[in-house]
Symmetry: C2
């Protein structure tokens, strides 16, 4: 008896998303520095939900409408004008975020999330939830698309490296005929088994965010399994999978 | 005295070309399997020029107008209907191609070549001309964009691997702040120093073309420096740089 495995593919940029069939697929949104890391941390620390929005003005509007909510988002490494908090997973400890709704706008991750229209489901991936996310993807037994938020549509190392980490863990359970997936796996293996932040120090995003003093943030975002929850989009908000 | 190096970037897909500034840049078109390999081989073997065209019908038209020309192009691994020859570098030995003009249509490489509008110049890259191309790029002392033809806009391993081979040779002479370039270099280093065809056996294109019995073709296209010429676009035709 031959068993047909579900497929696994990697989309390296939102500008390439139209090349992939997302219907019936579990799409994983990946924006390591730092949207999906922040979403994962906030939810694991007890946030009621995260509402991802595209613009600062929408963020302000929803923040006024949703009870017990916070608005957050950065532009150029600083809290955007009119918002209350930034895009760091370290800003949302349990004592602060518990039971609150985080209304979040980011440059790349949010945009990709809103571009995916017909997926079976949309979940959030980051190093912070690597292992539980992999277990979850295996359990669904559906086609998977790992979607890298990238940087203004350009390929980035950190999102692709995370895709490679997922593939190195669970790739054997999927049918992979996707060079982007193969390339991501090669990239992951080039780290020699997991000192991700050292590997990522030679990346555009690390250099950009270092100029804002965010080295510790990026080290945190590159650490596996600190926040073992699977965030999933339900309607307009992201909540933890039961 | 600080010397400003020219920049080097890698564009992984024609669908991302709009993200790069090609003005004043030397753009290298890369379509390893097999357009740019075939162009390099034909010109080194004495072809007068190669005329790249987008469609089969245009190929037929030009073949009738240009004296001493051949028409060539494949669709789905076979010579396209109405054309005379295929897209294999092995089809164009010196005894056959010398002084002729090759009118060539291909799916990916030709398209990318026609998309680049304002470059300082457009040259052709393949493993077959790796070393002389690198020397040429160094000598120009201009910004370089390595443009991967990819496969129907999806990232492919062989074009990116070639970009990585170029960067591993001459990257130190350029300012590289491009994650795609860094990723390509990691990919090249993953080959452990150069058994390219073994590395590429686990790629989508290798599997696709193997089904047509083209393994030997691909091995040839993965062999460095068999045809040391630099093909360059002049007007509508590609000729060898003096």
């Amino acid at each position: 008896m031959s068993v047909v495995k579900p497929s696994l593919e990697v989309c390296l940029s939102p500008a390439l998303l139209h090349l992939y069939n997302t219907k019936g697929t579990v799409v994983v949104i990946i924006d390591i520095f730092r949207a999906t890391s922040t979403i994962t941390a906030a939810l694991h620390n007890g946030a009621k939900s995260v509402v991802p929005v595209a613009s600062v003005s929408e963020c302000i509007d929803l923040g006024q409408k949703i009870p017990n909510s916070l608005t957050a988002g950065e532009r150029d490494g600083k809290v955007a004008e009119g918002l209350q908090y930034g895009n760091s997973p370290l800003e949302y400890p349990a004592a602060f975020i518990k039971d609150k709704t985080l209304v979040l706008t980011t440059t790349n991750g949010t945009r990709l999330l809103h571009m995916v229209q017909d997926a079976a489901e949309i979940v959030i991936g980051s190093f912070l939830n690597l292992a539980v996310l992999c277990d979850y993807l295996l359990a669904q037994n559906k086609n998977v698309l790992l979607g890298c938020a990238s940087w203004k549509d350009k390929f980035n190392l950190e999102d692709t490296l995370f895709a490679g980490a997922v593939i190195d863990r669970i790739g054997d359970s999927f049918d992979i005929n996707c060079d982007a997936a193969r390339g991501a796996r090669h990239l992951h293996r080039a780290t020699g088994g997991g000192n991700y932040i050292e590997f990522l120090k030679d990346s555009s995003h690390y250099k950009r965010l270092s100029a804002y003093g965010l080295q510790h943030d990026m080290e945190y975002c590159s650490t596996p399994d600190l926040h073992p929850v699977v965030p999933k989009l339900h309607g307009n908000e992201i909540v933890v999978v039961n």
